[in-house]
């Protein structure tokens, strides 16, 4: 049985939080680890090995992606957004502010993924109902909060974003 495969490193170039970065990665490297270890952006977390928890969620070309389930090489040439890109010049994004205001996090391990999934949702339509939010974040597990305050936070952030758009 062929057990050990080639570990050839290839350059991966992507735009992350507005910055173009290149790093070498084994072709088998998952995007989550590429972001965490090669690009040293540790806000993106890994919480499972079955694409179930969503702690690793980032946006690739604006679409939420579980970065543990995509290879780094597949993101070559694409635009990636992570939690580190949310606040602008120290000013919190409405989603971050709402999570803080509404106690939408406890241990904080699921939070970056929750924020990124919610961001994609609210960009499409900031006027969301409880039901819409609950379904949108159903791929993101939280073991601490019981979701009530997360849902509240997302709805409130949406209202603020809607006002900002006007």
């Amino acid at each position: 049985m062929e057990k050990v495969e080639s570990r050839a490193e290839v350059p991966v170039t992507l735009t992350i939080n507005g910055e173009t970065r290149t790093a070498l990665a084994e072709s088998r490297t998952l995007l989550a680890y590429f972001i965490r270890e090669n690009l040293e952006l540790t806000g993106t977390h890994v919480g499972c090995d079955t694409t179930s928890c969503g702690a690793c969620t980032v946006l690739v070309d604006g679409v939420p992606v579980k970065s543990c389930t995509m290879l780094a090489v597949q993101a070559d040439g694409h635009v990636v957004e992570t939690v580190e890109g949310l606040d602008k010049d120290g000013v919190l994004h409405p989603l971050q502010q709402a999570f803080w205001d509404n106690h939408g996090l406890q241990c904080g391990f699921c939070t970056p993924g929750m924020l990124m999934t919610s961001l994609a949702l609210l960009r499409k339509n900031p006027n969301v109902t409880e039901d819409v939010v609950r379904h949108a974040i159903s791929g993101n597990l939280c073991r601490c909060t019981g979701y009530v305050n997360i849902v509240k936070s997302v709805i409130e952030a949406g209202q603020k974003m809607a006002l900002e758009e006007v």
């Binding site: 540790t42 499972c48 803080w100 241990c107």
Partner: protein
Amino acid sequence: MALEATEKSPLGKAIKRKEDPRLIRGQGRYLDDIVLPRMLYMALVRSPYAHARIKSIRLDEARRVPGVKAIITGEDLAAANLAWMPTLAGDKQMVLAAGKVLFQYQEVAAVVAETRAAAEDGAQCVEVDYEPLQVVVDPFFALSSEAPVLREDREQKDNHIWHWAVGDQGAADEALAKSPVRVKEKIRMPRVHPAPIEPCGCVADYQKSTGKLTWYVTSQAPHAHRTVLSLVSGLPEHLIHVISPDVGGGFGNKVPVYPGYVCAVVLSLQLGRPVKWVESRSENIATTNFARDYHMTAEIGATEEGIVTALKVSTVADHGAFDAAADPTRFPAGLFSIVTGSYRFPQAFAEVDGVYTNKAPGGVAYRCSFRVTEASFLIERTMQSLALKLGLDPVELRRRNFIRPEEFPYNSPLGWTYDSGQYEKTLQKAMSLIDYDGLRAEQAQRRERGELVGIGVSTFTEIVGAGPSNTFDILGIKMFDSCEIRIHPTGKAIARLGTRHQGQGHETTFAQLIAHELGLSAADILVEEGDTDTAPYGLGTYASRSTPTAGGAAALAARRIRQKAQKIAAHLLEISPDDTEWDGIHFHAKGLESRQVSMVDVALAAYTNLPEGMEPGLEATFYYDPPNLTFPNGAYIAVVSIDRGTGQVKVERFVAVDDCGTVINPMVVEGQVHGGLTEGFGIAFMQEIAFDEDGNCLAPNFMEYLVPTAVETPNWETGRTETPSPHHPIGAKGVGESPNVGSPAAFVNAVVDALSPHGVTNVEIPMFPWKIWEILSQHHLAR
């Protein structure tokens, strides 16, 4: 005595959390975020069999994998006398399999390499030859004479670990025999796993030149871990520095010491380089300590009027391959003896037998004080059965049997002294929040329309805050906790505690508590936990013990500071200390409030302008040994409907009224309740670690081990009553776990209530739709 929050005091205020600004920016520093120079990565080789002898282990191919640095097996550890480690329950556990494996996915070898991937590659190339042995999955079979003896290392040649009993068996039997009404129920709490979203891991960093080991670890109890590691490894304790960084949830999962931790330490000692080990989710669920797995039988006796006379409980506790419970030493079944709950049982008897099987070891206190969820589930379920038998409303039955407010302190027949509670008032509040009478009327109407609607009640009592040192220790170490406060010259302060939060918000709530005691602003107090070189010794955060123990220490350390501060204040006011008074914010001359100094003034003087002969500085450390445990309680009401087509249960409403004594931060308390209810909901409806007959774990990941998502989780409604603990320095009782302890019975009672008109009296958890659908079919209710 409970202290009233003064207007300026932050106590009782919904202050936003101090930990959030870093966490919402992705700037938390969790274990896997730690990277050290020359760091190596470790992966474990695990057994595919649940019970097998190891015939041989071949390492040549693994050694040839590029990047692999070293591999250790059980034999290597045995040579270093490290093959076994003590568990917190006083049993011992194999670090790496010694001769045979006793559960599926047990640790067999550790491979360390230059990268995470190379370590995994190496682990895959280790070849192990196994000779499968007969597997024991069923704990009752484990107790039979036909079962093979699993633990050959023990002198005792069977699978029985211990027998524990409490109460007067003869008196309980007699009272039962005399009782005109009796109900008996078999109640199982299946094996579950806490599964915090961050798995466990560590980075062991041993420096040969200094002999110092810095050990970063996902730990709820860093000091206890330091002591255990020192005992296991022989490293002097002052040369072990444990750092528990931001912890991504714990719920009991991060209390024990795991084999992977010990292997990483051994490899770092051997190689003189940092070694990181982070388990995968599958490793987390399949191998780190489970919870529950209690197989209980309960019998209640009562009068015709529904006054309870006796309770008798017998339980088989499946501990898996090693008794790795994290219970206090003298309590092999934890605080299970809280099983008489909120009711005035004149007689009670409970016994538990611990048993070994070929499953992963445990069990931990999963979001509950030790074995309290099991106890609470049992009594609240059996009270439901009694209500059914008597034809009484479950609320009425509870009212007839509640311990009354004037009966506190109440001595339970199983040996506890309950501190305080107003059970009737708490229940009443839940009933009015949900409109209980209206609900019952509505239920009757909906039943007429053929709907399956149920209302479930649970009025539980918890027991937390272990604990008083005359009774509670872990491996001999008394279960006190501690706090050190230092006030700097500018009136800003740092406080360090022996606990370690994992999302509970201690950085905020303990700052509020200390600020309240010292008349400072919570914003000016930095709370630090998790570093054994800086924090005073404490037993850690689990079993809702932080506020009852370390919270008490914080209040008393602050009061110790206030004593000194009073002398300094008197000096500043040029009066005698006896003429100086503290009003919660200022010191002032008695009867002359205009002459006052603040704690900030005092702080500066403590370093610049002291009374003659006084030692400079303004700090204090307090080790708090609580005089008693605390007894949080609550009244929960669930409303469910059942889909006859699918067996799906919908939780239509859920009201939780908790009484956790004095509340430090209502927002944080509510968050804890939301989280605990969700885990209780998961336990009632979907979480179970099951095994097939060969001992294969059937739910080793989040695909099979289902935890609640936002879609099915109900929208929780909460309320509270506040009955302060009479002995806690601020009257607080602890809350993190009440909702997980109290809620499972409310869900099951609601489902049983929906089905009881059709003859159903018991439903096993988890209440998967298919299971409910089977019951519906049996009773010709399925559509």
